[in-house]
Amino acid sequence: MVVVSMITFAIFFLVPRLAGQTPELMAARYVGPRARSDQYHEVAERLGFFDPIHVQYWHWLKAIFVGMEFNYGNGVEHCPAPCFGYSYLRSTPVWPDLLERVPVTASLAIGAAVIWVLFGVSTGVISALRRGSIFDRVSMGTALAGVSLPIFFTGLMTLVIFSYGHPFRITAPGSSYTPFTENPAEWAYDLILPWITLAFLFAAAYARLTRAGMLETMHEDFIRTARAKGLAERAVVLKHGLRAALTPIVTIFGLDLGLLLGGAVLTESTFSLPGLGKYAVDAVMRQDFPQVMGVTMFATFFIVVANLVVDILYAVVDPRVRVG
């Protein structure tokens, strides 16, 4: 986490500086398009852009834990802990924005995850058990196509077919996110297309993974042993085969979910969902560096947590890792 925070910081402060940006030019981006050039130096000074790099890093890091105050024009702006930065362009702290967008991204990621795990894993298992059957061929062909399609292309296609074209319009896309707590039906209705789009890609990848894993484990010695013991085939498959094959999938699932929770950038952009990923893209377009930094740190946080959870789950699913 520390390393990640340093890298994040480096990207924002060192890279532009190395590439020849002066503190004044950085400040110019912060004070907005209509400020006069003679104010840049002053603003840059006020924002601490002339401090040594390690001081700037320390300030930024400290702000996350104890909050920070920004001397910016009219008096002082407070940015209470956890202060993930303060957007000078918008004159707002970043943290509340992030909190506001987490539910959107989480709804998208978790909803899609349920779909893709259900479809992906079951398709993979059936394909593996009926290797070479028509089902296997069709589903694996579809899966290969699925992982080869750019998600923004599938997303556009679903939009064009199901939404923009009025006759089939099944949902209002674009920012029409309704919180679950407000109206669960509308929540699901607004998210259905992004869910399907995102889940299709992942289901395809997971079906391929599950199938490969199952094929491999079904040839393992312990499966043969289980069969030899006279266990029913159903029990062999579910209790032994699937369990072993699932172990690596759990790892990947954790990492994928962690990544998505940090912002499903392309999906959110395609469907204009106001989640973390869209936030990041918009902030980059506006060159609002504090916002970008905040959202990047936040996303990394999810990934670190996901890694931890995966390690724990691993112990549960894989008997070999069980301690004691």
């Binding site: 532009p16 296609m157 690596p248 999938i249 980059v284």
Partner: protein
């Protein structure tokens, strides 16, 4: 998400290392693999398409000279200017003259743009893959050969890189780089940055696989033999280990290329990739979004990405099956 595709090699890496098997007597592994690959129709098809695509990219100017119009030439006379500059002909103006129809507003030849788009796409994907493979192989071999604390440090590094929110970092990095830097400007700079970012954050999978393979190779008799004959580290790494790692390196570079193509397209789609008027598939798609009522405009660049990625995936899958001794 393109990054999800990268998740595939993880499993393979978790299951395949340490299972190297002997080649069947009389035929080298390469010969066996070749004969297997030839029998895999899907892989052969993928391979043929891949070669065709590379040829298309290389001979883009020739193809366009024969079948199209220069990719940046306007043909506004073929547009309905009163209706926002959409092509007058049916199906976006598709005809023998304009195979894929015209781009609205500018009237540029979509066929030429898609053909030229292959250049950017493949160039970036290949260079980025090369960078990943070099970094990944070097670090993987070092970790696998030396083991111990070197291995655990590199192992940590691999974990870190694999955990990076890659796409997010990429858009951010491209976003903060000014218009000119490091002595480069314009699209030269863009391509360099894209290659660097995609390549530099994508070496984790390869490194993990190579590390696993190298670890198992280290324990093998011929390495011991070389060592007892007095061979030193570099000799063993370059002369004994690398040749034996060629197969997994080849397979995973082939599988990394489509991931990188999707990645570049995604970045261009988000507007942080190649800058106009240089054609790029992702960017064309991003523009086409605004003209969703003109299906041809979305269809062709979308299909170009799809076919390219599919071909590389088919070929890579076939290559893996052919080179993997387990599939008998």
């Amino acid at each position: 998400m393109p990054m999800a595709l990268g998740s595939e090699p993880i499993t393979t890496s978790d299951t395949s290392p340490g299972r190297g098997s002997e080649s069947i007597k009389g035929r080298s592994l390469g010969q066996i693999a070749w004969s297997r690959l030839r029998r895999d129709k899907a892989a052969v098809g993928g391979g043929v398409v891949v070669i065709l695509l590379i040829l298309v990219a290389i001979f883009a100017p020739l193809i366009v000279a024969l079948l199209g119009h220069p990719p940046e030439e306007f043909h506004q006379e073929l547009l309905d200017r009163t209706r926002g500059g959409i092509p007058t002909g049916t199906f976006g103006g598709m005809s023998r003259d304009f195979l894929f129809g015209l781009e609205p507003v500018s009237g540029r030849d979509l066929f030429s743009r898609v053909v030229y788009g292959a250049r950017v796409s493949l160039l970036i994907a290949f260079l980025a893959t090369l960078l990943s493979v070099v970094i990944g192989t070097v670090l993987g071999v070092i970790a696998g050969y030396f083991g111990g604390w070197v291995d655990s440090v590199i192992g940590r590094l691999i974990d870190l890189v694999l955990a990076f929110p890659l796409l997010l970092f990429a858009i951010v990095l491209v976003g903060v780089i000014p218009q000119s830097a490091f002595g480069l400007t314009g699209n030269g700079l863009r391509i360099a940055i894209l290659v660097f970012i995609i390549g530099f954050f994508n070496w984790g999978y390869i490194a993990r696989i190579i590390r696993g393979q190298a670890l198992s190779l280290r324990e093998r008799e011929f390495i011991d033999a070389a060592r007892s004959l007095g061979a030193r580290g570099p000799y063993i790494i370059f002369r004994e280990m690398l040749p034996n790692l060629a197969a997994p390196i080849l397979v995973y570079s082939t599988l990394l290329i489509p991931t990188n193509i999707l990645f570049e397209a995604g970045l261009s789609f988000l507007g942080v990739g190649i800058q106009p008027p240089t054609p790029s598939w992702g960017q064309t798609l991003a523009t086409a979004v605004r003209f969703y009522n003109l299906p041809h405009y979305i269809f062709w660049p979308g299909m170009a990405i799809f076919i390219t990625v599919l071909a590389f995936n088919l070929f890579g899958d076939g290559l893996r099956d052919a080179l993997d001794p387990k599939t008998k």
